[in-house]
C-alpha cells in the first residue's frame, strides 16, 4: 500500500476512535462538563494528564532540542517533570479537597474577593490562549507534512475534531479521548526509539542504550558522539554551555510554571478522592516519564546518525564527506519539505557539516578547503519526524508517528480549551455576571464558550500574531509568577489575606511581564524592546524565559509583607483553610 494511503488510514482510524469515544462520553451536567463528574480512576486520570501535558512541542520538537543543545536541554527535562513533584505535594490534594470546578474559583473563595478571582481569570486566559495557539499551529503543520494538505485545511480539520468531542463531552469526553490519545502517542514515540537503540547499541531499551557501547565497536555511544562533534568544531554534547545561575532559574521557572498551569491543575479535580489526587500525580509523571526519559536517547542517537551519515570517515580527509549524489532516500524526502537544505559552498559535490561559527576551528576548515557549513537548514523537528525513515522502519511506523503528533497536539489543545471555557462560563458568567443562572443554561454557556474558544484558537493558529514562538515562555512565566504562589500561600499560610494575595499576584505578574517585554518588545511588537535580547544585556545573565522564578519570589515576598500589615482573613476563611488541609474531618472514634 502506498505510504500516503496508509497515513490517511491510520490517522483516519485514530480520529474515528476519538469521535466514537465522544459519542459514548457525552456530558449531561455541569459537573460532568467541568470535572467529568469527579469519577475518573487515578490511573486513567494520570494517563489523561500525561496526554494533556505532552504537547506537539514535547512530541515533535523536544528530542531535536536535546539533539542540538545536549546537556543544556536538561533544564526542559527536569523542569517539565519536576513540576509534578510540586503539584503533587503542594497543590493537587488540597485543591481536590476544596472540591470545586476551576482554579479562579478557589482563588476567589479563599481570598473572599471577586477581584482576586478576576485577576486569576485573566492570568488563566492569557496563559492558556498563548499556549493553545502553538497547538493549533502544530496540528496544521502535522497535517501539512504528513497528509500534504494546506496548512489552513489542517487547522480546520483539527478544530472540527476537537469541536466534536470537547463541546459534546466537556471534561468527560476530553478525559477519555486523552487516554486513547496517550496510547497512540506513546506507542508512536517509543517504537522508532526502540529500533534506533537496537540498531546502534544492540539494546532494545533506549534509556539503557544511552549508556551503552555501540554495537560491534567497544566505544560508548555518548563518547563517540562527543568526539565526532568536537572534531567538527561543535561544543561537546555532554558539556555545559549556559551559565549555572540561568540554567537553575530556567529549571525552577519551568517547574513552578508547570505546577501552576490551570489546564493541568483542573485534571486533578476529576478524581473521586484526595488520596486519588496524590496517586494520580504519580501516575501522570510515570506516563510522562516514559516519553521524557526516551527523548534523551532519541536526541543523542539521532544526532550521531545524522553526523555520521555526512561524516563517514576521519575529519579532514576529502573522501570522508558524503557525496551529495549518494545521499540516502530519507535525505531527499525531507529536502522537499525544506526542513533539510544543502548548499554546495565549495563546489566539491560533497557535504561538509560543521560549526562554522567557531573561530578556533575556522583555520583548519579553510586548510581543508571547506567554505562554510553546507547543511544550511537542519530543522530540529526532523530528529523525530525522520526517525522511522533513518532507521529504515516500515511505512506503518511513519503513519503512526503522524497520528502520534496529531494526538499530542489535539489532546493538549482540548485541555486548554476546557480551562478557558470553564473560566468564562463558570467564573465570569456564573461567578460574577449571573450568579442565579440555572445549571442547564450554564452547561449551554459552557458549550458555547468552548465553541468560541475553538474558533478563536483556530483563527490565531492560522494567523499567528508573529510572536507565537515567544508566547510559550510567557505562559510559563504567568503561571509561575501569578497563579502558583497565590495557590500555595492560600493552602500553606492561613494568615494570607485578600490584600496580600492580590498585591502579590499583581507584583509577580507585573515584574515578569516587564522583564519579558523589555527584551522581547512590548506586547511582543517588533522594535519596541528597550534592550537587545542577548546575554550581555540580561540582568545577572538571566534570560527572559527564566524570569518566572524571580517573579514568583517577588510575588511571595510582596504577599507576605502586605499580609503582615493588614487585617487577618475572616474566621470562616481560616476554617476553610483548616478544612482543605485534611482529607476528612477527624472522627471522635478514629484510630488516632
Amino acid at each position: 500500500m502506498e505510504l500516503q494511503t496508509l497515513i490517511y488510514l491510520v490517522v483516519g482510524a485514530s480520529f474515528a476512535l476519538y469521535i466514537g469515544i465522544a459519542i459514548w462520553a457525552r456530558a449531561a451536567s455541569t459537573g460532568e462538563f467541568y470535572v467529568a463528574g469527579k469519577g475518573v480512576h487515578p490511573v486513567a486520570n494520570g494517563m489523561a494528564t500525561a496526554a494533556d501535558w505532552m504537547s506537539a512541542a514535547s512530541f515533535i520538537s523536544m528530542a531535536g532540542l536535546i539533539a542540538f543543545t545536549g546537556y543544556d536541554a536538561s533544564v526542559y527535562l527536569m523542569g517539565w517533570t519536576g513540576g509534578y513533584v510540586l503539584l503533587a505535594m503542594l497543590l493537587a490534594p488540597y485543591l481536590r479537597k476544596f472540591g470545586k470546578f476551576t482554579v479562579p474559583e478557589f482563588i476567589g473563595e479563599r481570598y473572599y474577593s471577586q477581584t482576586a478571582r478576576l485577576v486569576a481569570v485573566v492570568c488563566l486566559i492569557a496563559a492558556s490562549i498563548t499556549y493553545v495557539i502553538g497547538q493549533m499551529k502544530g496540528v496544521g503543520v502535522a497535517f501539512g507534512r504528513f497528509l500534504e494538505v494546506e496548512f489552513e485545511t489542517g487547522v480546520l480539520v483539527g478544530m472540527g475534531i476537537v469541536f466534536i468531542y470537547a463541546v459534546m463531552g466537556g471534561m468527560k469526553g476530553i478525559t477519555y479521548t486523552q487516554i486513547a490519545q496517550y496510547c497512540v502517542l506513546i506507542f508512536a514515540y517509543t517504537v522508532p526509539a526502540v529500533f534506533i537503540s537496537l540498531q546502534l547499541t544492540g539494546t532494545p531499551i533506549p534509556q539503557l542504550g544511552l549508556g551503552s557501547e555501540l554495537a560491534g565497536n567497544g566505544t560508548y555511544m555518548l563518547d563517540k558522539l562527543d568526539r565526532i562533534i568536537t572534531e567538527l568544531g561543535f561544543a561537546a554534547y555532554t558539556e555545559q554551555k549556559g551559565s549555572t545561575l540561568n540554567l537553575s532559574l530556567l529549571t525552577l521557572s519551568l517547574m513552578i510554571g508547570t505546577a501552576g498551569l490551570p489546564h493541568v491543575i483542573i485534571r486533578f479535580f476529576t478524581v473521586p478522592k484526595v488520596r486519588d489526587a496524590r496517586y494520580s500525580a504519580g501516575w501522570a509523571l510515570l506516563f510522562i516519564a516514559i516519553l521524557y526519559t526516551t527523548a534523551p536517547a532519541v536526541g543523542s542517537m539521532a544526532r550521531l546518525n545524522l553526523t555520521e551519515m555526512v561524516q563517514t570517515g576521519p575529519v579532514g580527509t576529502p573522501e570522508a564527506n558524503l557525496r551529495y549524489a549518494e545521499r540516502p532516500q530519507w535525505f531527499r524526502t525531507w529536502e522537499t519539505t525544506g526542513l533539510l537544505e544543502f548548499q554546495d559552498k565549495n563546489g566539491d559535490g560533497r557535504i561538509q557539516y560543521y560549526n562554522d561559527a567557531n573561530p578556533d576551528f575556522a583555520e583548519r576548515a579553510r586548510q581543508w578547503g571547506w567554505e562554510g557549513n553546507e547543511l544550511v537548514t537542519v530543522d530540529r523537528d526532523i530528529m523525530v519526524l525522520a526517525n522511522p525513515e533513518i532507521a529504515g522502519l516500515p511505512d506503518w511506523v511513519i503513519a503512526l508517528v503522524a497520528a502520534g503528533g496529531l494526538a499530542a497536539a489535539l489532546s493538549t489543545a482540548a485541555g486548554l480549551l476546557l480551562a478557558i471555557s470553564s473560566a468564562i462560563s463558570h467564573d465570569l458568567l456564573k461567578g460574577v455576571l449571573m450568579p442565579d443562572i440555572p445549571e442547564k443554561r450554564e452547561l449551554l454557556a459552557g458549550r458555547l464558550s468552548m465553541f468560541g474558544a475553538i474558533v478563536l484558537a483556530g483563527y490565531l493558529g492560522m494567523n499567528p500574531p508573529g510572536f507565537a514562538a515567544e508566547v510559550v515562555a510567557l505562559a510559563f512565566g504567568l503561571a509561575a509568577s501569578s497563579i502558583f504562589p497565590a495557590l500555595m500561600l492560600g493552602i500553606f499560610h492561613k494568615r494570607m489575606n485578600r490584600a496580600g494575595a492580590v498585591a502579590g499576584m499583581l507584583a509577580g505578574l507585573g515584574s515578569t511581564l516587564v522583564y519579558i517585554f523589555v527584551y522581547k518588545g512590548w506586547l511582543f511588537l517588533p522594535g519596541t524592546n528597550n534592550l537587545p535580547n542577548t546575554a550581555e544585556y540580561w540582568l545577572l545573565g538571566i534570560q527572559p524565559e527564566s524570569f518566572g522564578a524571580v517573579g514568583a519570589l517577588i510575588n511571595f515576598t510582596v504577599a507576605l509583607a502586605v499580609a503582615r500589615i493588614t487585617a487577618a482573613p475572616p474566621e470562616h476563611i481560616q476554617h476553610l483553610v483548616e478544612d482543605i488541609r485534611v482529607p476528612r474531618a477527624a472522627q471522635p472514634g478514629g484510630t488516632g
Partner: protein, 84 residues
C-alpha cells in the same frame, strides 16, 4: 486548630520538606551545581552528572511522588482522617 490536627499538619510538613530536599538535591545539586565534578564518575557509558540531569532526576521525582502518596495515606490513617 486543635492539637491532633496541628500534629497531623506538622507531620505532613515534615514529610513534604524531607521529600523536597531530595527533589532539590537530585535536580539542582546533582544535575546542575555539581554536574562537573560528578561527570568524572561514570555510570556505564554516561557521565554521572549528565545522567542525573537527563535520567536520574526524573526517576527520583517519580519515586518521591509515590513515597509521598503512601506516606500521606499512612498519616491519614494514624490520625483518623482517611477517607473510607
Amino acid at each position: 486548630m486543635n492539637s491532633p490536627a496541628r500534629a497531623y499538619w506538622k507531620a505532613n510538613l515534615r514529610l513534604v520538606s524531607l521529600l523536597l530536599i531530595v527533589w532539590f538535591i537530585v535536580s539542582y545539586v546533582f544535575g546542575i551545581l555539581l554536574v562537573e565534578p560528578l561527570n568524572s564518575i561514570r555510570l556505564g557509558g554516561v557521565k554521572l552528572g549528565f545522567w542525573f540531569a537527563q535520567q536520574g532526576s526524573i526517576y527520583t521525582f517519580l519515586i518521591l511522588i509515590f513515597v509521598y502518596a503512601v506516606g500521606m495515606n499512612a498519616l491519614d490513617r494514624r490520625f483518623g482522617v482517611h477517607e473510607d
